[in-house]
């Protein structure tokens, strides 16, 4: 039982991402991109993340060129940053905004399932479903996503939903 509760929380996908996270390290944005940067703190633990989003225009629509970040945090927060990097890169900003909201919804589910379309949309991020059972860790999983939302706001993209 122990192993199973812990394994449910720390899915192999999370451990793998945490060990070798995507997007880690701040790199210069591609030429011509708009750059939004944000800084977020998890007040519970003091962990901090600085995140940078590079945005280009594709047919007039804003598209996320790349996300990168640095900072320290637990395996949940690092894995979450890694996964969101993957989920955001190359997606148009509206889709990313929707995913941020879906991820928030997932974190605040206590039992009960997510609608199937949202599950599809979240992809690998569904591995974090187990976090919702541990209220103290929700902020860990959300840290990067909130930083991303904030960074997007800085370049004029306002994901729906209110905090």
């Amino acid at each position: 039982m122990t192993v199973s509760a812990m394994e449910q929380l720390y899915q192999q996908l999370i451990l793998d991402h945490a060990r070798a996270p995507h997007g880690h390290g701040l790199v210069p944005a591609p030429d011509g991109d708009a750059v939004g940067e944000s800084f977020a703190v998890n007040p519970t633990c003091g962990d901090e993340v600085r995140l940078r989003v590079a945005l280009r225009l594709d047919d007039g629509r804003p598209v996320v060129d790349s996300v990168c970040w640095e900072g320290q945090g637990c395996s949940i927060s690092r894995a979450s940053l890694s996964v969101l990097t993957e989920l955001a890169d190359g997606q148009d900003a509206a889709t990313v905004g929707a995913r941020i909201e879906s991820f928030r919804t997932l974190m605040h589910l206590r039992g009960g399932g997510l609608e199937p379309e949202l599950e599809d949309e979240l992809g690998d991020a569904m591995a974090f479903a187990g976090v919702a059972k541990y209220p103290a860790r929700i902020k860990c999983a959300l840290l990067g996503w909130m930083a991303l939302r904030d960074a997007l706001t800085k370049v004029g993209v306002h994901p729906e939903g209110t905090e």
Binding site: L9, D47, Q72
Partner: protein
């Protein structure tokens, strides 16, 4: 358990103590027995404390110090008797104990009062407390935020300068720096009696001596010492001290500010309202004598009564015996951790001048993940910066996990903790030993 007055309780007696704490019988995660090693954050309560608070509501609840009826008399008597119990525990006179909401509140009462004196309030007698540019307040690098930020802000409001005494690699405050940092400009020297991170106990005498030399007031953060060590404030010679009820087996919502009588009499109030005044007109008010001067509004009477019961409980156990018992726990914790690969203690690694408050980092695993795995094994520890970010930064880390003990902690608690801690690196796949199966 029927408590007997004794100088020293052995392991056996402390086993009986445990039965006084009903919450410890709880099961957590998947029915595992709780192993509570988070007492430095807040302690569990013995039945006598819970009963004292409940009994107050069931039989004596009334507003104190004002009523003419029998309930009010009873409530007042219980309230003031509790003050006597708390004073007796810490070697103070009852009139030197001010009730506050917690230790943080107590430090803020003092900082507000000094701030008010600095703005000219409280008349001539209060001017000895006034701060101005050029004055200094000195703290240490080991302080809890509650004994740091009130002073930062007081300095920002008054123009005084904040300085601090650094901490050694072992987590000891560098008392050999007292002389150069605490100078004639120092007006307030605020320092912790024991760190809630490293567990290191501060030698108070050199601080008091140096403060005396330069004419500074001493403020002792006794949050961690009062629950775990014999503390005699008169003997220590500090001017002010603070501690919390909830950490010394008492209720939440109550704490205390100790001040030498003469100082409390000169200090202006921090908070204003009912019960701390004598003659009130629309234009102005005269203040009551201490301790009432610092107790504005209806007090946390039931909680004070509970804190009094906690003080009596600790007095019956005997603080020497408590300290001795916890020294044993400290040794077992430190010894056990020393045997684990990749676990490093932040703070002194011997039991000398040290509490059973042991913070540590696990190589390659974040403290919160460590805590999660321990929690899954039923072991409650604290993770994070423990409200001491500057101290963590001093050690180049953001967060530690912390195991801390109290009177009810036993060796089995320590062993369960160590066993689970030994599995952490394996689970997260960072073991440098040969493959530990997940």
């Amino acid at each position: 358990m029927a408590l007997v007055m004794t100088e020293k309780l052995g392991t056996h007696e402390f086993a009986a103590v445990r039965a006084d704490f009903p919450l410890l019988a709880r099961n957590v995660r998947d029915g595992r027995p709780l192993v509570y090693l988070d007492s430095a954050a807040t302690a569990q309560k013995p039945e006598v404390v819970i009963d004292a608070e409940q009994d107050f509501y069931l039989h004596h609840n009334a507003a104190v110090h004002r009523g003419a009826h029998q309930l009010a008399e009873e409530a007042t008597e219980l309230f003031e008797r509790a003050r006597e119990s708390v004073a007796a525990l810490v070697g103070a006179d009852p009139g030197e104990i001010v009730w506050t909401g917690n230790a943080t509140g107590a430090i803020n009462v003092l900082a507000h009062a000094i701030g008010h004196a600095s703005l000219g309030r409280g008349g001539a007698a209060a001017q000895r407390f006034a701060l101005a540019p050029g004055d200094e307040v000195v703290v240490t690098g080991a302080e809890h935020h509650s004994n740091l930020i009130p002073w930062q802000e007081l300095c920002a409001r008054t123009g005084a300068t904040l300085r601090w005494i650094p901490v050694s690699d072992e987590g000891r405050i560098l008392t050999n720096r007292l002389e150069d940092i605490v100078t004639d400009r120092c007006r307030v020297l605020a320092f912790t009696h024991a760190s809630n991170v490293t567990g290191a106990v501060t030698p108070v005498a050199p601080f008091v001596a140096r403060a005396h030399d330069v004419g500074a007031l001493t403020v002792l953060d006794a949050c961690q010492s009062v629950p775990n060590l014999p503390v005699d404030l008169h003997a220590l010679g500090v001017d002010f001290a603070v501690f919390s009820g909830h950490k010394m087996l008492g209720p939440t919502g109550v704490g205390a500010l100790y001040g030498r009588r003469e100082l409390l009499e000169a200090l202006p109030p921090a908070n204003y309202g009912g019960l701390m005044v004598e003659v009130v007109t629309m234009e102005s008010a005269t203040y009551s004598m201490p301790p009432q001067r610092f107790e504005a509004g209806t007090q946390m009477v039931a909680q004070a009564v509970g804190m009094g019961a906690a003080a009596e409980y600790l007095r019956e156990l005997g603080m020497d015996a408590v300290a001795e018992h916890e020294r044993g726990i400290t040794g077992r914790l430190l010894g056990g951790i020393a045997e684990l690969d990749g676990v490093r203690v932040i703070g002194p690694t011997t039991s000398d001048q040290r509490l059973a408050v042991v913070s540590f980092v696990v190589d390659g695993v974040h403290a919160h993940d460590v805590g999660q795995l321990l929690d899954d094994a039923g072991v409650a520890v604290r993770v994070g910066h423990h409200c001491a970010q500057p101290l963590h930064r001093r050690f180049g880390i953001a967060a530690t996990a912390r195991a801390s003990a109290s009177v009810y902690t036993n060796e089995a608690d320590v062993d369960t903790f160590l066993e689970a801690l030994g599995r952490v690196r394996g689970f997260f796949g960072v073991s440098d030993r040969t493959a530990v199966a997940r």
